[in-house]
C-alpha cells in the first residue's frame, strides 16, 4: 500500500500520544516541556499533511510556521521561569514545587 494521507496522520497520532504520556508521567519540568514539543510537532505534521493531500492550498503550512514560532517564544519564557525557580529551589521537579497547595 503506497503511503498516503492516513500514514502521516497515524505517525502524528503516535507522536501525540507519546507526548501525552511524557507530560503525564514526567516529574522534571524540562522533560514535560519536551513532551509538549512532541504534541506540537504532531499537530504540525497534521497541518502540513492536510495542506498537501487535501484541497486546502497552503494554509496548513502557514499555520505550521506560526506554531513553530510561538512554540519558540513559549519555550524561551518557560525555560526562563524554570531557571528562575531553580535559583530559589535548587530543583526543577514539579512535585517539589509544592509551597502552593491546599
Amino acid at each position: 500500500m503506497s503511503v498516503g494521507l492516513n500514514h502521516y496522520l497515524f505517525l502524528a497520532a503516535v507522536l501525540f500520544v507519546l507526548g501525552l504520556y511524557a507530560v503525564i508521567t514526567k516529574k522534571n519540568a524540562v522533560t514535560v516541556l519536551m513532551g509538549i514539543e512532541l504534541i506540537l510537532n504532531a499537530a504540525n505534521i497534521n497541518f502540513v499533511a492536510f495542506s498537501r493531500y487535501t484541497d486546502t492550498d497552503m494554509d496548513g503550512q502557514v499555520f505550521a510556521i506560526f506554531v513553530i514560532v510561538t512554540a519558540a517564544a513559549a519555550a524561551a519564557v518557560a525555560l526562563a521561569i524554570v531557571l528562575n525557580l531553580y535559583e530559589r529551589l535548587k530543583s526543577i521537579n514539579l512535585d517539589e514545587a509544592d509551597s502552593l497547595s491546599g
Partner: protein, 161 residues
Amino acid sequence: MQDIMFYMFAALTIASAGVMVFSRSVIYSAVGLLFTFFGVAGIYVLLAADFVAVAQVMIYVGGILVLLLFGVMLSQRVTGVNMRTETLQTVPAAIVAVGVLFILFRVISKTEWLVKAKTTFEPTTAKLGTLLMTDYLIPFEIVSVLLLGALIGAAFIARKG
C-alpha cells in the same frame, strides 16, 4: 522511493521520540528529541514543505533544543549527578495513552478526509512569503508583538536580582 523514505523517517521519528519519552536521563531525552525533530523535518520534505522543514530544523533544533540543553545544564550541578527524571503514575498514564491512541486511530481510519491527488512538487517559499504579507498579515504582526513581549519577559525573568 518516496514510500521507503517515509518509512525511514517515520521509524526514526517514532524510535527517537520513544527514547525521549522512556529514557530516564534528561540528556538522553534531549538527544532523542534532536532526532525526532530531524525526522519530522524529513517528513515535511516528503510532504513538499521544504521551507517548513528548514524552519523546523532552524527553530526547533537551533533554538528550542539548544535552550532546553542550556536549561538542563544550568539547572543541574556541573558534576552531573542529579540527572535522573523520575516517572510517576506510569500505569494509569499508559492506559490513558493507549486509549487515546485507539480513539485517534479510529478517527483517522473512519473519517473520509477530502483527499485530492496532488503530485506536483512546487517551490513553496515565494508563495509562503506572499501569503504572510497578504492574507496572513495580521497574524504575522501579532506574532511580532508576541515575540517582542516574550523577549522582554524572558529577559526580565532571567535577569539576576
